[in-house]
Symmetry: C2
């Protein structure tokens, strides 16, 4: 069966809140999840959006919404400073980890989210990303090298191009057997789709 | 107990999809619903949003999403033409019906939604609104008169001012005991809030 595609920007609180739910949903329906970090910036340019915290009214709602969703899901959450960030380092590192230790790519992504949203670590710093990788038993020097490689920079850019070409305009954004679901609040609907085969 | 405030723009497909759900949710928790039509335009200006169908990527998603949600809810839906519209006539008429026959204001609103989203009636036309009112047994001439009254125009404007002042930036938008919920996809969460008293 097709994997559930989970497109996300590490800088997105709603992606963090989705990241703690999606594997269990997939497992209930015998699916795997393909985690696809990308940078949301180009999609936001295409759709004329600004970061939520820079947007009147919507920003206030989002701050309240993130906090209450975290309480509902019983996961730690504190809006980090700086926020938002350009999540280049964790995105590139993710794709490197996926190459060298695919079994650790999801634990790495989860650890990055937790560091940013519950420990206030600035995950845009390569050193922070290297430290997280090292804690998982990965070779920090190899990660440091990889973060500077044009090949890996290109890999993250290509992921962003693919996202845009496939209509992925937000984070999180799921694709299930070709069907798009935008937003962490659509996970119950996504699960209904998995359970019923769609409607 | 406080009523559930249901803020909406008659031109919003997501509001139509919410309008067929919210009364049942409220009834399950012994609540009433206060329907509050307003014009979304000023809130969209404040947040820098464009109508969804005018927005790249998001527009394509929305068209697909409206249709599939209607199938899921088993309600008729066809994107009308023209769309979107400035829903002045139905908004003003709603507040007039609420004054003279409060028992008919919700049936009137539902009938307006159905006319627009399943019969393709241009509900921005005062004549269309008068016809719907007459079908409900209301005095079409009285509605026609009221639609031209400055007092009623002002009433709809004041509703929009109140919406903006209270952070209502989208449609549908619910407020339950002071707690805001934006979007038809948040109705299950709103119901959880009603059932549990919040979290």
């Amino acid at each position: 069966m097709n994997k559930i595609e989970f497109w996300f920007d590490f800088s997105s609180p709603y992606a963090y809140l989705a990241s703690v739910q999606i594997e269990a949903v997939a497992a209930r329906h015998a699916r795997a999840v393909r985690w696809r970090p990308f940078l949301l910036g180009p999609a936001m340019k295409a759709t004329g959006m600004q970061p939520l915290t820079h947007t009147p009214l919507r920003g206030d709602y989002a701050r309240r919404d993130w906090a209450r969703l975290a309480r509902l899901l019983d996961v730690p959450f504190a809006l980090p400073d700086p926020f938002p960030i350009a999540a280049l380092a964790p995105g590139r590192a993710f794709y490197f980890v996926e190459e060298v230790r695919p079994d650790l790519s999801v634990p790495f992504a989860r650890r990055v989210f937790r560091a940013y949203y519950s420990e206030g670590v600035d995950i845009s710093a390569p050193e922070a990303v290297q430290k997280i990788a090292a804690e998982l038993g990965l070779d920090a020097a190899a990660i440091a090298n990889a973060l500077g490689e044009e090949r890996l920079k290109q890999k993250l850019r290509v992921a962003g191009d693919e996202a845009l070409a496939r209509g992925v305009f937000g984070s999180p954004f799921f694709i299930v057997d070709g069907e798009p679901f935008w937003g962490s609040d659509r996970i119950p609907m996504l699960e209904n789709w998995l359970a019923t085969g769609g409607w």
